[in-house]
């Protein structure tokens, strides 16, 4: 069952970028690239060698592997619906959040290591938005723990929660989808398609990478997106008491369609407005937490 869980997660990670591209192309009235084009692109990158700037140190070369490792580890904590995750222990919620943060730190340090003013700007933005998004993620994880009474993903989603928590779980899923947008650098927070270095956040940190390293960073990005999307899908599916065979396609559809639609119809934020955007998500997460807390008190109003 653990193998099936991991397999579904990896499939979701591969399908989400394809679905985003396809949605965007269809909305633009285009046929679009192959569904698995991103895989061909990465295969191409994996075959290429790497060129390193002479100003960089070992940190720069280690970071992509570290980033990929962190994303992969984080993925292992995530269950698909009621399937058991590969890794599970009490408090793995917190381990998940900070494994992701660890990967981010590695990339930020590597970007600073290059000494390029572009990458320095990107690193500062990534660090700021990462720090702002962290409370939102932790509050949502805390809400999940609160309403179910477990601190491990495996247990949280293994049992159907009580009916009164449906609203809380759905709201948690909504906030998690918002976090997918911020964490995977999509419109309105970041624009992965732009060629303008001055406006980039995530992409600008990877400007000095090529070949295998760049492929690692791209794959890590898919894994991270898949992990958060799956969490959102899990929460939504749990709210209805549904099982894993719904959760897996739901994760792909939820992120693929929402990101594709938003990127087609909306402009990205002015950079200073990103702060407001992420803080709003964090505030929403706090509200979800308090709603969960109140419901969990099980007050009887006469």
């Amino acid at each position: 069952m653990k193998a099936l869980n991991l397999l579904l997660l990896l499939l979701a990670a591969l399908a989400i970028p394809g679905l985003i591209n396809r949605t965007r192309a269809r909305l633009a009235g285009r046929k679009g690239i192959r569904f698995l084009q991103h895989l061909y692109d990465v295969r191409l990158l994996l075959r290429k060698g790497a060129v390193y700037s002479t100003t960089t140190s070992a940190l720069f070369r280690l970071a992509p592997s570290f980033y990929l490792g962190a994303a992969l580890t984080a993925l292992l904590f995530i269950p698909v619906g009621d399937l058991p995750p590969v890794l599970s222990f009490d408090g793995d919620l917190v381990a998940f959040a900070y494994t992701l943060a660890l990967g981010r730190v590695a990339l930020v340090l590597a970007a600073l290591d290059t000494g390029s003013p572009f990458e320095g700007m990107g690193a500062s933005r990534e660090a700021l938005y990462g720090a702002l998004a962290e409370p939102a993620l932790l509050l949502i994880l805390a809400t999940l723990a609160l309403v179910t009474g477990f601190t491990s993903f495996g247990w949280i989603f293994s049992l159907a929660p009580e009916l009164r928590f449906t609203v809380v779980l759905l709201l948690a899923a909504y906030v998690l989808v918002k976090l997918v947008f911020t964490e995977s650098g999509r419109v309105p927070v970041d624009d992965p398609r732009t060629h303008l270095e001055l406006t980039m956040i995530h992409e600008v940190m990877c400007l000095d990478y090529c070949g295998t390293d760049l492929a690692y960073i791209k794959i890590a990005g898919w894994l991270k997106t898949a992990a958060l999307s799956m969490l959102a899908a899990d929460a939504a599916v749990a709210a209805w008491g549904l099982r894993w065979w719904i959760a897996a396609p739901a994760a792909v559809l939820l992120t693929g369609l929402s990101v594709g639609i938003v990127e087609s119809t909306q402009a990205r934020n002015k950079l200073v407005r990103n702060t407001t955007f992420i803080l709003t998500v964090a505030v929403l997460a706090a509200l979800v937490f308090f709603t969960g807390y109140l419901l969990q008190l099980n007050l009887v109003i006469r």
Binding site: R30, M121, H195, L196, E197, T199, E263, A267, K270, L271
Partner: protein, 509 residues
């Protein structure tokens, strides 16, 4: 002070008729006149003439449609130092920098004697663009970001040096000249007028029609030939088609830079439709080969006219939908409004022209103020003016000009169809050998899509063109971009840049 007073449709001016005034008088009069925004300098350049240096100045009076031409001279043994006018009126900075760079004439009190385009035959070759000292500021919380001269994407070279405090831009310095090809030099080197026309088309690839029109205007003034009114109408149609295509392209580019995919793909499709219409008419998408002196190789036919009218109506209809979408999208308005503001007084001070100036409340549009060709006869143009001076204002001006141009094209084609649809075209074939007035100056002032384009052609006593001095609107407006990003976030630089969409090669020549 005495000027030779003329306008944009009058004949060439014999050089001896242009008054030569002492520089002190010239300086005083220009200092006074330029304080009024109704005046701005269209061109100011120096030309060696029989052992001395003669400086010509074209001053435009927007209120009366007059073009005031004056000159001053510097003898061979005069001291090469003149009091700077830029110190009083910054709008003269590109002209004075050009004169100083080419001929080593120093302008005393010039606030920033920066080389303009590093031509190969410049006077002082001790400095080069590789070791150009950028403006710097000191401070622990400041950092510099250099962008270019090689850019990501398919754009031309130009270096941007930002001085930022965090994300906020305090200062932007733009260093250009990387695209210098010696266009003016080539004009003087070849006597072949067809080649000169082709050169004019290549000054800025996106303004091929406008530059070619300005050059042929100058040539035709020098030859003194009357041209049929239909030729003017066809040039007008070509110019407005070019304007539509480029304004639509920039609407799409702005949408792309903020990540608004629907606007981008819709405008890309419409722009293709527009330039393909031009291609169906003359065989080139950018209208190269369409504008020729004294005639045309591609006279309109009834079928072509019907095709253009049909396409333009369709483009205008679909573009209007895009325009409405943009105007009603909060996420787009949040990006474009209150971003990259250039106030009216700053725009006037730097001598901004074209749609950027109109977006800042400065109604400079040669089609209205100094009409030529069709604009002097069939169309009384009403410039589109916005006062906000932000990215949205520049975009709105673009949007409305597209629809306005579509109406003009339709109207001009309607006149054509009424008069000539059945019969043969009244436009003759081009004439590249028409004799030109000797020792004369003629100018062509044309409102291209980016702004006012000025070609000044000067002939020698044998009637050969010895100099064609070109001014692209970008020459003035690059400074507007530098002002627009002050205080903005550095991440908004790309949309400010796109909202002006200035030409590198038009500046660098």
């Amino acid at each position: 002070m005495t000027y030779h007073i003329t306008d944009n449709t009058a004949a060439a001016i014999p050089l001896r008729d242009i008054p030569e005034v002492p520089y002190a008088e010239f300086h005083a009069d220009l200092a006074e006149k330029l304080a009024d925004p109704r005046y701005h300098v269209a061109h100011y350049f120096a030309l060696p003439e029989e052992g001395r240096m003669r400086f010509y100045c074209l001053l435009l009076d927007d209120a009366t449609s007059q073009v005031l031409v004056a000159s001053h001279v510097m003898e061979y043994y005069d001291e090469g130092v003149l009091p700077s006018l830029t110190a009083i009126h910054p709008q003269l900075h590109p002209f004075e920098r050009d004169i100083a760079e080419r001929y080593g004439i120093r302008f005393d009190g010039m606030p920033w004697p920066k080389p303009l385009r590093f031509p190969f035959d410049r006077y002082d070759r001790s400095g080069s663009m590789d070791n150009y000292p950028f403006y710097t500021m000191q401070g622990g919380s400041l950092h510099e970001v250099n962008v270019g001269p090689i850019h990501a994407g398919i754009i031309e070279p130009g270096a941007f040096r930002f001085i930022c405090s965090g994300e906020q831009v305090l200062h932007l310095e733009i260093a250009l000249g990387y695209q210098h090809r010696g266009v003016e030099h080539e004009f003087a080197a070849t006597g072949n007028r067809l080649r000169q026309t082709c050169l004019a088309e290549a000054v800025a690839g996106d303004s091929a029609v406008a530059h070619a029109t300005a050059f042929t205007e100058a040539v035709e003034k020098l030859s003194g030939h009357e041209r049929p009114a239909q030729l003017d109408r066809e040039r007008g149609i070509a110019l407005e088609l070019e304007r539509m295509a480029m304004q639509i392209a920039d609407t799409g580019a702005l949408s792309m830079d903020v990540g608004y995919q629907l606007g981008q793909v819709a405008c890309e499709a419409l722009r293709t439709m527009t330039i393909n219409t031009t291609q169906a008419w003359c065989g080139n998408r950018f209208g190269k080969g369409l504008i020729r002196p004294h005639g045309t190789d591609h006279p309109l036919t009834a079928e072509k006219s019907a095709m253009i009218r049909r396409n333009v109506a369709e483009i205008a209809r679909r573009y209007d939908e895009v325009r409405r979408d943009i105007k009603s999208s909060p996420s787009l308005l949040a990006r474009f409004e209150q971003c990259g503001i250039v106030p009216r007084d700053q725009m006037a001070a730097i001598g901004g022209v074209g749609q950027a100036a109109r977006a800042s409340g400065l109604a400079r549009d040669l089609r209205a103020t100094h009409p030529w060709g069709v604009f002097a006869k069939h169309i009384s143009h009403e410039p589109v003016v916005k006062t906000q001076g932000d990215v949205m204002a520049r975009l709105t001006v673009r949007c409305r000009e597209v629809l306005q141009s579509a109406r003009y094209v339709d109207r001009l084609l309607e006149i054509y169809e009424q008069k000539y649809a059945a019969g043969p075209s009244p436009c003759p074939a081009p004439d590249y050998a028409a004799p030109l007035a000797p020792s004369s100056l003629a100018f062509g002032l044309v409102e291209g899509w980016r702004g006012e384009i000025c070609h000044v052609a000067i002939t020698d006593p044998e009637g050969r063109i010895v100099a064609d001095r070109i001014k692209d609107p970008s020459l003035h407006n690059w400074m507007a971009l530098a002002l627009a990003v002050r205080g903005e976030g550095i991440s908004d630089f790309p949309i400010c840049n796109k909202s002006f969409n200035l030409s590198y090669c038009g500046h660098d020549l």
